[in-house]
Amino acid sequence: MDLTPNDEQEALRTATVDWLADNMPLDQARTRPASIWQGMEDMGWFGLTTGAMGLDHATEALLFAELGRFLAPVSAISTAVAARWSDTEGKVALALGERILDSGDTETALGLFDGKAGLVSYQAAAAEPSLDLSTAQTILDAAPEPALLGESEAALHFRLLTAAYAVGCAEAAGAMATEYAKMREQFGKPIGSFQAIKHMCADMAVRSQVCRSQLYYAACALDGEDPDVDFHIGAAKRLADQAALENGRANIQIHGGIGMTDEALAHLPLKRAHLLQFVAPTATAELL
């Protein structure tokens, strides 16, 4: 039993963060160059658990949490799952009912259909903006008919990576709020010295820690074919969704007026959190 990343995993995580900080800063989340996709592919993130690379889901979840922290394209999730469980190559958008998220530069999408992972084809059309300013979407006339993937693990894998994104999103909001609380002064002091603000930051850290821990456990449960793997991944997704949403809201409150603006970055994790709520959500009955 060991639930801390080993040296190799830490090294991969550091390399991931370094690349993301250089190439995918949050202040460019809504205007990313098309070449970013090639860069991500070169980093190998879409094939971590395929036979070629053969890493485990724990490592993958660790890195996807970092992708989530930088609000990376959500199609990284669908592309990685498609690469692992189907013969599809290249970018795969994320299907959500009749919506296709991150729909550009491909005509294939992957999503959940009655709890099973499936691929759909769609006609490329001009993508429109969504609430999440880093995600463009195409809305089809009707929900497409999926070709379901044979393996039931595909749906678990999909939910696990979405949970990892939500963990990163929750941590991004928490870190942003805490940094701001150290810098912003009122009454002659940093606002983070006031307990009302400090305790909100502490609660954000608690929520982040809770969902990250459950994410690790869930990823290991998938790797180890644990009989309770469905529960653990479901719990990870639910806790991460809540953390992302609650931290996203608290971040705006701590930023005050500036947090209300389009210009500041505080609204970006909140809007991403809302999007992630709809992707592979965990129903109450799945946990009882």
Partner: protein, 383 residues
């Protein structure tokens, strides 16, 4: 990362399980500290003789010198088997003993540690005072040094098991005129020494477990200082950080059982069809699962780096508040039967009332949030 245990650890788990299955006392542990004393001592003695006391304590002091993972396995199985709370032995096993292991002289360890493990010596804690609660550095109980003795005057409060204890881990001011964290010492106080008066306090749950302690010219040997005169704050903090170690795992298993019991009750009574109740129960189940993940992470951190990370404060805060959410769900399912509670009852209402302590004792939830904000997140100090 992995959540599996080695074959040796699995075998150890089997041994724990087998022994517990056949040895857990049939009778229930009494609620009040004085009535429970004989029970607690006999059970601790039995644990010691079978080799289950001090699993990761040093062998030379009566422990078994095994790994922290084995200690965790034992605690998991202990809770899973619904074995009784160690009660009066709690302070010695979880606070006093571990502090002695880190800070005491060989002679102090050799004398006290085996007694604690065997259930021969009951310990209590003497940190809080009427004027020093969350602000622990406000301690005013004085120790005047006279030759090779310390003469103690003052009072302590919220001291669990004080009226049945043999020894106390007592933090007092040994330097006249010293302020705050300076000039404090951590001493072993003999609770049978002349000049000590204990006044038990009844809790709102009806239980008599903690007490007020008064010291009137109590004399103890200077040799009873642990970790050096004037060094009490650092010694006390080492106890508190130990407390943030493996102890959570037993709580986690217990909470997990409680949630499963609540789900069973809600199903049996048809309450699960209420969406809000189902939703909240599902939430509790997910949260309890996360506590295990957090605790495993913390233990892995100790194994890898030799000490728990700052996230231990997070586990502590989250576990305490989660326990209260579980207790509140328990009485929510109970409905008006809540009103039938009487002092002496040992049920969900008792747990609910007693459970308020979780976010007060050993550093309130508010202090924990300060610690997380300041020590982990690096926010500027409030005070």
């Amino acid at each position: 990362m992995d959540i599996g245990f080695s074959p040796e650890e699995q075998e150890f788990r089997e041994q724990c399980r087998d022994w517990l299955q056949t040895h857990i006392p049939a009778e229930k542990r009494p609620l009040n500290a004085d009535e429970a004393l004989d029970f607690d001592k006999a059970w601790q003695r039995q644990l010691f003789e079978a080799g289950w006391a001090g699993i990761n304590w040093p062998e030379r002091y009566g422990g078994r010198g095994l790994s922290i993972v084995q200690q965790v396995i034992w605690l998991e199985e202990y809770a899973r088997a619904r074995a009784p709370w160690i009660g009066a032995n709690f302070v010695g096993i979880n606070h006093g003993g571990p502090t002695l292991i880190v800070n005491a002289s060989d002679a102090q360890k050799a004398f006290h540690l085996p007694k604690i493990l065997k259930g021969e010596a009951i310990w209590c804690q003497g940190f809080s005072e009427p004027g020093a609660g969350s602000d622990l550095a406000g301690i005013r109980t004085k120790g005047r040094i006279e030759g090779d003795e310390i003469v103690i005057n003052g009072s302590k409060i919220w001291t669990s098991f004080a009226h049945v204890a043999d020894y106390q881990e007592l933090v007092l001011r040994t330097e006249e005129g010293s302020q705050r964290h300076k000039g404090l010492s951590w001493v072993i106080c003999d609770m049978k020494a002349p000049g000590i008066t204990v006044r038990p306090i009844r809790k709102m749950s009806g239980q008599v477990e903690f007490a007020e302690v008064f010291y009137d010219d109590v004399r103890i040997p200077l040799d009873n200082v642990v970790g050096g005169l004037g060094n009490g704050w650092a010694v006390a903090m080492s106890t508190l950080s130990f407390e943030r170690g493996t102890g959570f795992i037993a709580d986690q298993v217990k909470q997990s059982q409680e949630v499963d019991d609540l789900i069973a009750t809600a199903r049996a009574e048809g309450l699960i069809t209420d969406d809000r109740i189902a939703e909240d129960l599902a939430q509790l189940k997910a949260e309890v699962s996360a506590v295990r993940a957090m605790t495993y992470r913390n233990i892995s951190e100790v194994e890898r780096r030799g000490q728990p990370g700052p996230e231990a404060s997070i586990i502590r805060l989250f576990t305490a508040e989660l326990g209260q959410r579980i207790e509140r769900m328990g009485i929510r399912l109970m409905g008006e039967r809540l009103l039938d509670f009487r002092y002496g009852d040992d049920d969900l209402v008792h747990d609910y009332l007693r459970g308020f302590a979780a976010t007060i004792a050993g550093g309130s939830a508010q202090i924990q949030r300060d610690i997380i904000g300041e020590r982990m997140l690096g926010l500027p100090r409030s005070r």
